[in-house]
């Protein structure tokens, strides 16, 4: 009677069934937002930060390593603190902090862990261990801090800190996340990618309460962390610390290089800071203070400070002049006709000129190099001459980066035709009489202490250098970029170095270097310099290498506002050389004299009043 109704009823069932299949097709196959939501729900990505590589000195002494620290996390849902006062007392926090932080954690998530207290030391961790049973819902995660064996060498090492928002935005790829630590300066920054290692990623399944339930897909997607590579530096930590102590109470730089390898033995930037001030919790306390300090302790001066080379540049002039064929060991100039003045002595040859650092001699020599004994348009000849000259001088590394493995190397300035054209606004707008100051390392030429140490190494090697570098080996295999193995020739023949080295020998023995700068039993050769400083006392410069035969160390010392090069820079250099070659210093009186010597300008003690003025040369752009 109503038999056909079965079909109608089933039609209705089938419509509902199709409706369901349609909707399911939409949410399961078409819409993929649910898959992401599911992963968000149940898959927890755990980042494992590997240990950062350690840093060693040239003899395998540890300089930087990692200390584990402990971060306290809270899971608000499980956290029960019966006695808040007791808790605060155990962890040494205020009640306000407790209330505020647990509230923040609760707002973030009731079931996921939030950071509660950062960076507890091993000692603090041990002291709260027993009390932890009273505080369910709190647990520790280990983290690591950079730890420094020495208070020295901080500037070249650089530091590690939380990545800044701008760096985070500008990074290539997406390796770093907010809160990650990254090398900021020095070798920490230069070798960031090899030091940091490879981060591990674990995909863990969690249930709705945030409890871990094993590896997702049996761990097939997990990546194990790889520790960072260790860095084996060429630094001699003993020499470094010794040099550091000599540069106390001074503003300036000291760079020592092993000439045969280009390895940097010591690199002092003064004034410096204690690297441990910028680790972990200390960072927030000290960073601001250090960054605002008018003496710029955070600046790594050797590769980045700007100075005029002063008389030390005469060595370059002597070498280039000979190579270009304008002067020779027998060339003699008197003081006549020179706008630059000198001290009372008669006409000298090249060796003598270097010994007494004769300004008129190098004025005349430079004039000859520029004008080439030709006649005609002085402007045109000046341009031609300067071009020839600057092409050769550039080989010494002036006006360009040497390629040191520190992040903040500056190019310096080597004035060439282009440079003067832009300064004097046009071709043929300048000639020798406008530029002669550079003949004696004043005027427009600007160098860094590192370049001058490299110059000492070039002379020690008689015509070549290996780009100076701090790291001589990376990782277990101690590999290194071949760039730091390849000698660079400067284009001056070895024979031209003899007279220059003779002159440097004389300068130390009975020239510009005073008695404090002489080492009785070591043949050190060097050249003083005085960098003119319109804003205060001149800067004292000295570059040297030793021993004269088969040189082991090339050094450059810059002491700001210390006046003549022979007074401060040369004795400090001699002490470092003596210490390096003999492993001890016999001249105790000289040592203590210069350790205590204070060349900090008065303005510093006056308290940052003329901040701009005093930092001119270290920070000049």
């Amino acid at each position: 009677m109503f038999n056909q109704r079965r079909n109608l009823i089933f039609l209705f069932f089938a419509i509902v069934g199709l409706l369901f299949i349609g909707k399911l097709f939409f949410i399961q196959v078409v819409d993929d937002t649910y898959e992401k939501a599911a992963d968000n729900n149940a898959i927890r990505k755990i980042i494992q930060i590997p240990f950062r590589g350690e840093v060693y000195d040239r003899y395998g002494k540890l300089i930087v390593y990692n200390t584990p620290v402990y971060d306290l996390y809270i899971i608000p849902r499980k956290a029960v603190v019966k006695d808040t006062n007791h808790f605060c007392q155990v962890f040494g926090i205020t009640k306000d902090y407790f209330v505020k932080t647990s509230q923040q954690a609760k707002t973030y998530s009731r079931v996921k862990p939030s950071l509660f207290l950062k960076h507890l030391s091993k000692e603090q961790f041990a002291s709260v261990q027993d009390a932890m049973v009273d505080f369910p819902g709190f647990f520790f995660e280990t983290n690591a801090f950079r730890t420094y064996q020495s208070r020295s060498f901080s500037n070249a090492l650089g530091y590690v800190a939380e990545i800044s928002p701008t760096t985070l935005l500008e990074q290539k790829g997406d390796y770093y996340r907010q809160g990650d630590y990254v090398g900021i300066s020095g070798i920490e920054s230069f070798y960031e990618e090899t030091l940091r290692g490879q981060r591990g990623i674990k995909y863990r399944m969690v249930n709705s309460n945030g409890v871990e339930k094993g590896d997702y897909k049996n761990g097939s997607l997990n990546v194990n962390p790889v520790s960072g590579n260790n860095l084996y530096t060429s630094i001699d930590l003993a020499i470094q610390e010794y040099a550091d102590s000599l540069m106390k109470h001074k503003v300036g730089s000291l760079v020592a290089i092993e000439p045969s390898t280009g390895e940097i033995l010591a690199m002092v930037s003064a004034p410096s800071y204690d690297a441990s001030q910028l680790t972990g919790n200390n960072f927030s306390t000290y960073y601001q203070q250090l960054a605002l300090d008018p003496m710029k302790p955070l600046l790594n001066r050797p590769p980045s400070a700007y100075y005029r080379p002063g008389s030390t540049f005469k060595l370059v002039q002597a070498l280039v002049g000979q190579q270009l064929g304008f002067i020779g060991p027998g060339t003699v100039y008197s003081h006549a006709g020179s706008p630059v003045k000198c001290h009372g002595h008669g006409p000298v040859n090249l060796r003598g000129a270097i010994r007494v650092s004769c300004n008129p001699y190098f004025y005349h020599a430079f004039r000859k190099m520029i004008y080439d004994n030709t006649t005609g348009d002085t402007y045109e000849r000046s341009a031609q001459g300067l071009q020839r000259w600057s092409d050769l001088v550039a080989n010494f590394g002036f006006g360009r980066k040497l390629g040191v493995d520190l992040g903040n190397e500056k190019k310096g300035i080597l004035p060439n035709v282009e440079y003067y054209n832009s300064v004097y606004k046009g071709n043929k707008a300048w000639k020798f009489s406008n530029i002669y100051s550079i003949s004696i390392g004043e005027g427009e030429i600007v160098v860094s202490p590192l370049k001058m140490a490299n110059l000492a190494a070039i002379i020690a090697n008689r015509g070549w250098y290996i780009p100076p570098h701090v790291v001589k080996g990376i990782g277990l295999k101690k590999v290194i970029d071949p760039f730091y193995k390849t000698p660079v020739k400067v284009g001056v023949e070895a024979k031209y170095f003899d007279v220059v080295i003779d002159g440097m020998q004389d300068a130390v023995n009975n020239g510009t270097v005073g008695p404090d700068g002489k080492i009785p039993d070591i043949k050190m050769v060097g050249k003083t310099g005085t960098s003119q400083n319109q804003k205060g006392k001149d800067h004292s410069i000295f570059i040297a290498f030793a021993p004269r035969d088969n040189p082991k160390i090339a050094i450059a010392v810059f002491v700001e506002n210390a006046g003549f090069g022979g007074t401060a820079a040369a004795p400090i250099a001699s002490l470092v050389v003596e210490k390096y070659l003999k492993r001890k210093v016999d001249r105790k009186s000289v040592e203590s004299k210069f350790m205590q010597m204070n060349y900090l300008p008065n303005v510093y003690s006056a308290g940052g009043v003329s901040r701009k003025k005093v930092t001119t040369d270290s920070t000049k752009k």
Binding site: I9, Y34, K213
Partner: protein, 429 residues
């Protein structure tokens, strides 16, 4: 084989096959939901029998006992005792507010030792039996109002009692008897009005009142356009039509008032969640949101048996009981759920086919009662996991974890199979 009328006690093995398949697949889903990759439980571990999977195994075992009980009873028992069974269940429903315990916020359970029983689950069977017995009287004609009224009373009494014990979801199941009544001669206008009423209710919630008004007037206009010329000229036509539009409009406006004033807070929220999927995803909308995430993340092929993360790690509340469909959706994907839906439709078709073979009106009516109840659960349960139905405590027959549910569906089904096996013995009246 079911056509062999002269062999007594012939069970329909196809239906039994469906039953075994559903219960078996259901158990595998429950096992997968409690399976922990960290610490898999073996069958020999006593802790296994504390888990849902272990307990369900016990429920399945006891269901076998129930099946045997149902099958050994005389087939005439169900018709003869239908009234007593019905009255007995009514007594239990009345007693439950006083003697029962509260589980999951509903005060509708009896507790015997560690086992809990919900009489509302069994009231469906009792009502189906009595309704079928009533219709077995050849004088009963459902196109006549007095009979309609009595049939409605049989359905309404347990319904009211169940609503009183705060189990609105279980009470709504009784609406499924409309299918039984329709098959037995209830005029088609009743189910049409029912479906139309639901459509109006939903549209009243989803669209603004003036849109409904415009649609109503437009459809009235179209109706007039297609009318014969003579009724177009009859003013009564317009009077009736505008009366109809006004009545529907009033009802539509009533819906909002009903939702805001008559429904309880949690019921109102379930409806809000339904019409606005983004509503309060962490609170009131949590269950639907998580359920859709679980099913949606299954994709086309699913994550594989034991491979689900959402259902396994408790993201979907009630996921072994009412939300068991999520496990199928997540682990077996679109292929799995489509297979499951088609299987269920096939099952319903088989039952209706068997019901129409019955010679006695009692057995046929009971069969359609069974089909209606199963379909209603299928509709609401799957519908709520994918956000097409409001959330209510309606389990998926044979799949969901739980003793009351499995027992009551087993009894419901096997009474019919028992009746069917004796269909040649029963007189067609």
């Amino acid at each position: 084989m079911t056509d062999s009328n002269h062999i007594q006690g012939r069970i329909d093995w196809i239906t039994v096959g469906f039953y075994v398949l559903f219960v078996g697949l259901g158990w595998l889903n429950i096992y997968s939901a409690v399976y922990s990759p960290d610490a898999p439980l073996s069958f020999s571990d006593p802790a296994f029998y504390d888990s849902n999977a272990g307990k369900q195994l016990v429920w399945i075992g006891t269901s076998l006992v129930l099946i045997i009980c149902v099958l050994v009873l005389d087939f005439r028992f169900f018709e003869s005792f239908a009234l007593f069974i019905y009255l007995g269940l009514l007594l239990l429903l009345i007693a439950v507010p006083f003697l029962g315990v509260t589980i999951n916020g509903s005060h509708s359970w009896f507790k015997f030792g560690s086992a809990t029983i919900q009489p509302a689950e069994f009231a469906k069977t009792a009502t189906a039996l009595l309704l079928a017995k009533y219709l077995n009287d050849p004088l009963v004609n459902l196109s006549k109002f007095p009979f309609q009224w009595k049939a409605a009373l049989i359905i309404a009494i347990p319904m009211v009692l169940i609503v009183a014990s705060n189990e609105t979801g279980s009470a709504l199941v009784f609406a499924s008897f409309l299918i039984l009544l329709y098959r037995e001669g209830l005029p088609g206008i009743y189910p049409a009005l029912f479906i139309g009423g639901i459509a109006m209710f939903v549209s009243a919630l989803l669209v603004k009142a003036w849109i409904i008004l415009v649609v109503l007037i437009l459809s009235a206009g179209i109706l007039v356009l297609f009318m014969p010329i003579y009724s177009q000229r009859d003013p009564k036509t317009y009077l009736r039509l505008s009366g109809g539009v006004a009545a529907i409009m009033t009802l539509a406006l009533l819906v909002e008032w009903l939702v805001n004033n008559v429904l309880k807070e949690h019921q109102r929220n379930r409806i809000r969640v339904l019409i606005d999927p983004g509503f309060d995803p962490r609170g009131l909308g949590y269950q639907v949101t998580q359920s859709k995430i679980a099913i949606g993340s299954g994709g086309f092929w699913g994550k594989g048996f034991l491979g689900g993360t959402q259902t396994k790690f408790d993201f979907v509340p009630e996921q072994s009981t009412d939300m068991v469909f999520c496990t199928i959706g997540e682990e077996h994907g679109f292929v799995g759920v489509m297979f499951m839906i088609l299987l269920f439709l096939g099952f319903l078709w088989r039952l209706m086919y068997l019901a129409d073979l019955q010679r006695s009106r009692f057995a046929r009516a009971y069969g359609f009662g069974l089909v209606g109840i199963l379909f209603f659960h299928f509709l609401v349960n799957i519908g709520m996991t994918i956000g097409l139905m409001p959330i209510m405590g309606i389990p998926l027959p044979f799949f969901s974890y739980g003793g009351s549910s499995l027992w009551s569906f087993t009894i419901l089904l096997f009474i019919f199979l028992k009746l069917d096996s004796h269909r040649s013995d029963m007189l067609s009246r």
